[in-house]
Subunit: 211 residues, 2 copies
Amino acid sequence: MKPSKSDRTKSRILDASRTLFAQFGYEATTIRGIAEKAGIDPSMVIRYFGSKDALFALTVDFEMGNVAAPMSGDRTPGERGVRHFLRLWEGEEANPALPILLRTASSSTLAAEKLRMLFESQIRRLIEHLAGRPVDPERAALIASQMLGFAYCRYILQIESVANMAPDRVVALLGECVDHHLQMEGPLPQGPDAHGDQSNPPSDPVKEERS
Amino acid sequence: MKPSKSDRTKSRILDASRTLFAQFGYEATTIRGIAEKAGIDPSMVIRYFGSKDALFALTVDFEMGNVAAPMSGDRTPGERGVRHFLRLWEGEEANPALPILLRTASSSTLAAEKLRMLFESQIRRLIEHLAGRPVDPERAALIASQMLGFAYCRYILQIESVANMAPDRVVALLGECVDHHLQMEGPLPQGPDAHGDQSNPPSDPVKEERS
DNA sequence: TGCAAATGTCAACGCGTGTTGGCAAAATGG
DNA sequence: CCATTTTGCCAACACGCGTTGACATTTGCA
């Protein structure tokens, strides 16, 4: 059960491929480049992973399992959702497949399909879990598209004001907007506050903790 | 001044390159493919445009001049902004460079730079023109990132619920969210409420032209 | 220690790419 | 009507790519 020598090489290849795919996309990343970064011969990459496509698929394949995991102590559903989203992208347990997916989705059918599936099943489920009730699909998709646009600007395009935004401010601004979306089609079950907007919550047990 | 024969060929090449770059991105689009679609020899593409890079730059180069043009009779600033955005992407006078930019921004440095510039100058200006006053850069960037995420989901990924959304509903849902952003940091000059009457920015030289 | 399996290197193949120069056909103009 | 330019096609080059198979080296086990 000890880690054989090939396991170390395989993981070096995977590390290199993750980095390069995330940085340059699918087409511009070459087997030769991956091999060089991993310090071995290009033929090893093929031997261990079969083909460039297979390596890419493996690099991009990951578990979205705990996407609907519980969040920290932020106040509103939107804030909790955005915090979770942020944790998924940066921080310690960040998922390295996410930047790759976003970077390559516009040129790789496989990545686009994966991202689309992520959209239509997982994210929607997360949003409904946040809201505690069913959510209009179009509304949910719009929330998700906002997150995706944010990630695209922060991690891919690296727009200055978006890339440098402090996490807490991201949580505040984006969360506030998510809450707005959720409140627009009806009150939330256990109604946390969303910065005292005067939109019509008919029977909204809002607790006022605005400072 | 008469259109020479080569002009027709050049425009056929440009048409083909627009279509292919928008559909497959930069790397996966080949000179041979463009030539075939235009019905001529690959060498003609080089002769007329110099190189693939030059053709791409020319395909992606376009005028953003009237980005701050007036909008139609939607009620709130957000709705007017989103309507304008939608007109820029679909409809008659849509700009064919936009889908190409969005598709290739993640793999082409040139496209990414162009999109970044669009972000940091033009869009911000449009948003401030909508609000009728200065807007917090981070807030403006967030609004822009939301539009970008929407476009990415609708035109690139083609997420079902986003791609099929009726224009009026897009204007309503997204506009409402933009308005929320704008109201969060202070009242608008003439429209303090979300669904109030139209706002008219003070001393703006833009003339109104209804569609 | 000896031998087979695992691990790695090297050179090369076939392919598609962007790009080039030469040459035929068509258009142009005096 | 001929000479010149324009427009187009063809063949080919050099290059980098993914991939392959043969051969060297190292490792692991009996």
